[in-house]
Amino acid sequence: MAEAERSLPRSPAVGVAEPEASTERSRARREWRVRIRNVLYPVGVVLGVLVIWEAGTRMLAVPAFLLPPPSAIAVSFIANAPLLLFHGWITTAEILLGFALSIVVGIPLALAIFLSPTFSRSVLPLLVSSQAMPKVAVAPLFLVWFGFGLLPKVLIAFLIAFFPVVISTAVGLASIEPEKIYLARSMGFGATATFFKFRLPNALPAIFGGLKISITLAVVGAVVGEFVGGDVGLGYLLMVANGSMDTRLLFAGIVALTVLGVVLFLLVELAERLAIPRHIIAGDRGVHETA
């Protein structure tokens, strides 16, 4: 021990401050590099794909009606911006109404499933089959029943989108540590207070997980509805563009739908951040031992 001490350099100038500062500097550098990489790599990949696409279609002289180059799609997108905006607005309305209906119906349904095992057993087979059933197949039926307006598209969007809301809410409500419920009871909270103070906040991350899946499915539902029988909306525009071999517009419409889907998804994520300020699932969950 004494030997080791003697062999150490005993310079008073070299304190712990110097290594501390250099560690901090290298940590900051590393973090910066990671941040750049997180932006640079995905953007680079996208740009690379676009460049290859552009160059490929030009060099191989691919006809525009088969695969237009990205630049032509961009031009078409800008030229048709008012058209895309108009149809996009209709589609957005259908998606949002379908999504809202999913929440309004799905969450109370999940609540009933959670509260009553009998109800759960009675309706779950129906719910699951409603999901297994291909929605495209019932879309024409919806047209017969509800006409060509907004309603059938909203209903198809709802039919596709409500299932994840139901399942994730029901699972979220049921998955709480038993100790939390014991705690609530020993504190003297009634059933209602226990639900709102313990169970519902505990279920929020799961509920939002379902909502995020639901919003992307609502986009699919609305477009399917428009495919089958619409005279407005981006889905309808895609059909028209396809029919007239305007592949540029077709791609522009797909781009518009993609952007719409991503934006709506991000909005749900924003709502999640606002609803769950500390979006942290406790790490100490599920490590209980009973003696």
Partner: protein
């Protein structure tokens, strides 16, 4: 040394505050019924620190849940000051092995949960919550969320939550079981300090022999499953107890007595 007494001699101890009489618990499992507790009778005096010590699976947590009114005994009864417990008791503070904090509430918010349940006056309760958090060394951490706190800190918040309404009884289910040795020592000292000031009745479930000896007035040693009362041991060490006391022959004698009991029951095995 105390001889193993028949359980009946422990019933209805004079001035018993919490009284368990012939409590048994049978759980239904897929492999058939499992007896967790068998004919446990014990009386905790008012202001007493009573520990329940036993190997894992001896039903000591079940015993605590029954004492809290959160589980119904299959047989027997629990009474407080002679009144039979039929519903969850709300006059107690309860601390589980895990902190059971609400992740979406701050340390202060978690302590205040108890005040909200009891409808205590808000500003006064808040002041008290801050005082309690301060007393266990959490000043400055009031607005931190559970994930920002260490395991020991979380368990301290849980302790404050169990104390803010000044309960008559504190029920603790292996509260320090998941903590590292040093944090554990500190929390044991903190708990002793709090108990010294308030002298509430404590029912303390643990599988740590030194912890039980250090804290308790009496230790109720349980047999392996099905849990029965094996022996009641009075700990007559002066209070407040200090860390140095753990090295004394008296302390060691108590430990020895309990370990011998565990060896005799096959809970421990010296090869």
């Amino acid at each position: 040394m105390t001889q193993t007494k028949p359980p009946s001699s422990e019933t209805n101890a004079e001035g018993a505050y919490l009284c368990l009489q012939g409590v048994s618990k049978v759980y239904a499992t897929h492999d058939g019924p499992v007896r967790a507790l068998e004919q446990v009778s014990v009386g905790a005096r008012r202001g007493e620190f009573l520990s329940v010590l036993g190997p894992s699976g001896c039903g000591k947590s079940t015993l605590l849940m029954i004492a809290a009114g959160l589980l119904r005994p299959s047989n027997g009864a629990v009474s407080i000051d002679g009144a039979v417990v039929t519903r969850p008791r709300t006059d107690i503070g309860i601390v589980f092995q895990s902190p059971v904090l609400l992740e979406w509430r701050t340390a202060l918010g978690n302590v205040m949960l108890q005040a909200e349940a009891k409808k205590l006056e808000r500003t006064a309760a808040k002041r008290r919550a801050r005082d309690l958090l301060g007393a266990v060394g959490l000043s400055g951490f009031e607005d931190k969320y559970p994930h920002e706190l260490s395991g020991g800190m979380r368990q301290r918040v849980s302790l404050c939550r169990a104390l803010i309404h000044d309960p008559n009884q504190l029920l603790m289910d292996e509260p320090f079981g998941a903590l590292d040795a040093l944090t554990r020592d500190q929390l044991v000292l903190d708990l002793q300090q709090i108990w010294n000031q308030r002298r509430m009745t404590v029912l303390f479930v643990t599988h740590s022999v030194p912890e039980a000896v250090f804290l308790s007035d009496r230790i109720m040693v349980m047999t392996p499953r099905p849990g029965r009362l094996d022996r009641m041991i009075d700990i007559e060490l002066p209070r407040p107890r200090t860390l140095a006391m753990r090295e004394t022959p008296e302390f060691a004698a108590y430990i020895r007595e309990i370990l011998d009991l565990f060896l005799a029951r096959g809970v421990l095995r010296e090869h």
